[in-house]
């Protein structure tokens, strides 16, 4: 796994690590995560709401996990042993996954967009209630397969 080049003009070495580990944790590609339009918002939000040392530790562990894994299986195993099995790390990983899937951090939405951009609505082939309305009668047929 190679850490991608900087995509956003974020002057922060760890940002790419954050995006790559988010990809591994959520099952959505960096590009799909980018399309929420919230990557930078989320990153800076975590920086402001998590003890900096703890976040840096999480990103350092993540960086090691990413750098020493060359296949998907290796990456999965490394995440299990280094992050999931490590209570402090797994807690942050859960928060990061929840942020992407629901748009919340410790139960609160980051902003009105974070609710609408929750990935959970994509995996159920639906849309966030009250936004991205699919149109009249769409609910009467099987949804378009988003995995095609």
């Amino acid at each position: 796994m190679i850490i991608t080049n900087k995509i956003l003009n974020v002057d922060d070495y760890y940002f790419d690590v954050f995006m790559s580990i988010s990809q591994a944790l959520t099952g959505f590609t960096v590009n799909e995560l980018q399309s929420t339009g919230l990557t930078e918002t989320y990153y800076t939000y975590i920086l402001g709401n998590l003890d900096a040392g703890t976040f840096v530790e999480f990103l350092t562990v993540s960086k090691n996990v990413l750098e020493k894994s060359f296949t998907e299986d290796q990456l999965k195993n490394a995440i299990v042993s280094e992050i999931v099995m490590n209570p402090g790390m797994s807690d942050i990983a859960d928060k990061v996954i929840t942020l992407w899937y629901l748009g919340t951090w410790e139960g609160a939405y980051i902003n009105d967009l974070s609710y609408q951009e929750g990935l959970v609505w994509n995996v159920m082939n639906a849309h966030p209630p009250g936004a991205k309305q699919p149109g009249y009668k769409s609910w009467a047929v099987e949804p378009v397969n988003s995995n095609s």
Partner: protein, 759 residues
């Protein structure tokens, strides 16, 4: 204390669907001076055009020439002031000679007031407890305000029915988040309601412009004929207040009486549905029940999930304790825009027809225009069709779902001769005005007392009252607020030479009693195949089989909507599913797959169980419990009887059989810690509120056992009407909004008759 404001013909407390319907229907009519009766505005406009055609306008040049009767002199003078200011402003802006403009505007004014020579307008004042922003219905303000509701909804953690709307200290609302178990004798008082239990009342409402229709789901079934005659058909009797004597349950009207008004309500709300697909377990044929009739708009499509369930359940039956019941899966009529039904024909007008000695309302279809769906209040081209936002509760972003602001806007704005909307000057709404007490003089309601708070942030208020001795007062607040205001209103009478204290409208001792709701028992599980829930309106299909039947002598009837929104209501999905899988250590593609599997198969069945009227289920007030404005909070005593509990047992039996037949893996769990839970025959059942707060000022045929007559008029006071779901004598298995709308529309016949004395 300020001096009383100018007299009005009608005072309406509340801008929800009941208040708005009355305001709209009254402002649609004017009093014809020559005919000595009320006629519809369109008829008056036509006649007035003929009158104008006979006038030589060249001779009318100056404001001073207005042939005004003294009664309008005040209004004219005010209007002149306004007009002169406007003339000066416009003249300055456009650089025109004020004189030229004066002639033009003067002519407009002349027409306005000349009209009043022939036709008198009904003057109306409405009070709304919610914020001013919620009743400003011009396009810009209403859109700005609604956008704020939407933004709030997006950011609320718990997206409960009240979540998008202002949570006011000065006019608090019951909220489902405050519902908790009660340990008698200690009340639960953390919310707005003071709940003594033993069961918590589980439903909410919202005090905001447009009322609770802002977050209603929009399902609009009519009541069934037998719902109006439970005693006659099933021998059900209930206790008299504070006694073990039994008394029959008497609705003063039956289904046939209400039928034409159901059609008017369906027109005003804009109901989508297919009459030919309605099937109910009733003795009457559907021809008798609906007659030769179609809904204004075509059926809202049933969801993909509905169709998978229908495939599995069609033509099967379930076995309850003593009978086989055939399953009828019916597309639900809804107050939600689809495509207009061409067979419905042109648009209609609800018009009062004079028939000695009063009025009857008719649904007149002499209009030339075809029927069109009415979109949002800020832009009629938005929300002309349901767009599948799937957030009807708590808020429809495009207002394709009906809400009472649409009706209120029709009261506030009338179409002028150029087909433009023009603000109707004869109706006024004062918001941030919390009505809390009525005064009585010689039986008449003589004053309405209110506290007007000055801002959203502060609880400072101005004490006001309005003299209503020559007005008609209409309480249309909601089934908690109406009885609360009444119980807070005392007056003295002399009986047998002694002074006796009475409570307004309460000679029957029924005010605040018979509080009812539907017990919503939910059952949920995983369908064997993906059904892709979380899409479409909240519910598009219901099982009507249990809405009526012999069993009603033993236990409640119920309606079973299928819910399109997965397990979000009972289990807080999808958030809870994510937590569960994270707890199992899932991440990446495994997590994604687990979520996809779980969330695309979630089904929810919902059993809305009828509650019988019970005089002990009641709203009272108590000076110990006051809100921030020093107004009493509703104090609620509430319990279930075995009649409802047995229905939960039977509904669960029905659910189990349907789940088994469909291969649904049952995930239903009722916990001892649930806020609303009960044990019957050693089995636990939990339920939610349906948001159906009804019964607290029941209508009846006799002043002895009811608060109002069938026209929602108080038996005890000649100028007081009390309208809303509180008038329902029983609840039936329908969502109450359509029924309350029907009898509220009917009440206008009596209001118009009473108003004649004012003109």
């Amino acid at each position: 204390m300020r001096k009383p404001t100018h007299k009005k013909d009608v005072i309406i407390v509340g801008t929800g669907i009941a208040g708005s319907l009355i305001a709209k229907l009254l402002t649609d009519h004017v009093y014809s001076v020559n005919g000595k009766k009320f006629i519809h505005r369109t008829a008056a406009n036509l006649r007035f055009k003929e009158i104008l055609a006979e006038i030589d306008f060249e001779s009318v040049k100056k404001l001073e020439h207005l042939p005004a009767s003294a009664s309008y002199q005040n209004e004219i003078n005010n209007s002149k002031d306004r007009t002169h200011k406007e003339i000066d402003a416009q003249a300055a802006k456009k650089n025109i000679d004020p004189k030229t403009l004066e002639n033009r505007i003067g002519l407009e004014l002349f027409k306005t007031y000349f009209f009043l020579e022939f036709y008198h307008e009904i003057s109306i004042l409405m009070y709304e407890a919610g914020l001013e922003a919620g009743v400003e219905l011009d396009s810009v303000s209403s859109m700005t305000n609604y956008t704020e509701y939407m933004r709030t909804f997006y950011t609320q953690e718990a997206k409960v029915p009240n979540s998008p709307y202002p949570n006011l200290k000065q006019a608090p609302s019951p909220n489902v988040l405050d519902v908790a178990q009660i340990t008698p004798p200690f009340p639960d008082k953390k919310g707005y309601l003071v709940q003594f239990g033993p069961m918590a009342f589980a439903s909410d409402a919202i005090r905001v412009g447009g009322g609770t229709t802002l977050h209603w789901l929009g399902t609009t079934p009519r009541m069934l004929p037998n719902d109006f005659r439970l005693t006659e058909k099933y021998g059900i009797e209930i206790n008299k207040p504070d006694s073990s004597d039994k008394s029959p349950i008497n609705w003063p009207i039956d289904y046939d009486t209400l039928k034409p008004y159901y059609e008017m309500a369906e027109f005003e709300i804009g109901v989508s549905g297919d009459v030919s697909k309605q099937e109910y377990p009733i003795d009457e044929s559907m021809e008798e029940y609906y007659g030769n009739y179609v809904f204004p708009m075509e059926e809202i499509p049933q969801s993909y999930m509905d169709n998978q369930i229908i495939k599995g359940l069609k033509d099967t039956s379930v076995k309850l304790n003593f009978e086989e019941i055939q399953l009828l899966l019916v597309p639900s009529p809804q107050g939600r825009n689809s495509a207009p039904n061409l067979r419905y024909g042109n648009t209609k007008v609800i018009r009062a027809k004079y028939k000695k000695p009063g009025y009857s309302l008719v649904l007149d279809d002499s209009e030339k225009e075809e029927y069109k769906a009415l979109g949002s209040i800020w832009n009629p081209y938005m929300g002309e069709r349901c767009e599948g936002n799937a957030s009807c509760v708590p808020i429809c972003p495009v207002q394709a779902k009906y809400n009472a602001l649409k009706t209120l806007k029709k009261a506030l704005y009338k179409i002028n001769e150029n087909d433009n909307l023009k603000r109707n000057p004869h109706i006024e709404i004062k918001a941030q005005s919390v009505v809390y007490r009525l005064s009585v003089d010689q039986k008449r309601i003589s004053k309405v007392h209110l506290r007007r708070y000055t801002s959203k942030e502060k609880t400072d208020f101005i004490e006001e009252f309005i003299d209503t001795s020559d007005s008609i007062v209409i309480l249309a607040a909601n089934a908690f607020e109406n009885p609360k205001i009444l119980l807070n209103s005392k007056y003295m009478v002399t009986e047998n030479g002694r002074q006796v204290e009475k409570t307004v409208a309460n000679n029957s001792d029924q005010v605040g009693r018979n509080l009812m709701d539907h017990m919503v028992m939910l059952t949920w599980g995983l369908f064997p195949e993906p059904v892709y829930s979380y899409r479409g309106p909240g519910s598009t299909t219901n099982i009507s089989s249990f809405r009526d039947g012999k069993f009603r002598s033993e236990f409640s009837a119920w309606i079973s909507p299928l819910d399109n929104w997965g397990w979000s209501w009972p289990a807080f999905s999808p958030g809870s599913d994510l937590s569960e899988f994270l707890g199992q250590g899932l991440f990446g593609t495994d997590l994604k797959e687990a979520l996809t599997y779980r969330l695309s198969r979630q089904v929810l069945f919902h059993f809305e169980i009828e509650q019988l009227p019970n005089p002990n289920n009641r709203v009272t007030i108590n000076n110990q419990y006051m809100d921030a404005l020093g107004i009493p909070r509703p104090v609620v005593h509430y319990e279930l009887t075995d009649y409802e509990k047995k229905a939960m047992e039977q509904a669960k039996l029905a659910s189990d059989q349907m789940f088994e037949r469909l291969g649904i893996q049952d995930f239903t769990k009722y916990n001892a810690t649930d806020p609303n839970t009960t044990v019957y025959n050693n089995v636990r059942y939990s339920y939610n509120g349906a948001g159906h707060i009804v019964g607290t000022h029941r209508m009846g045929s006799s002043p002895d056992d009811s608060v109002t007559d069938s026209y929602c008029k108080s038996w005890d006071h000649p100028n007081l009407y009390i309208v809303g779901a509180g008038n329902m004598t029983t609840l039936g298995t329908s969502n109450p909004t359509l029924t309350l709308s029907a009898f509220t529309i009917r009440s206008v016949e009596s209001i118009l008759t009473d108003l004649e004395a004012h003109f």
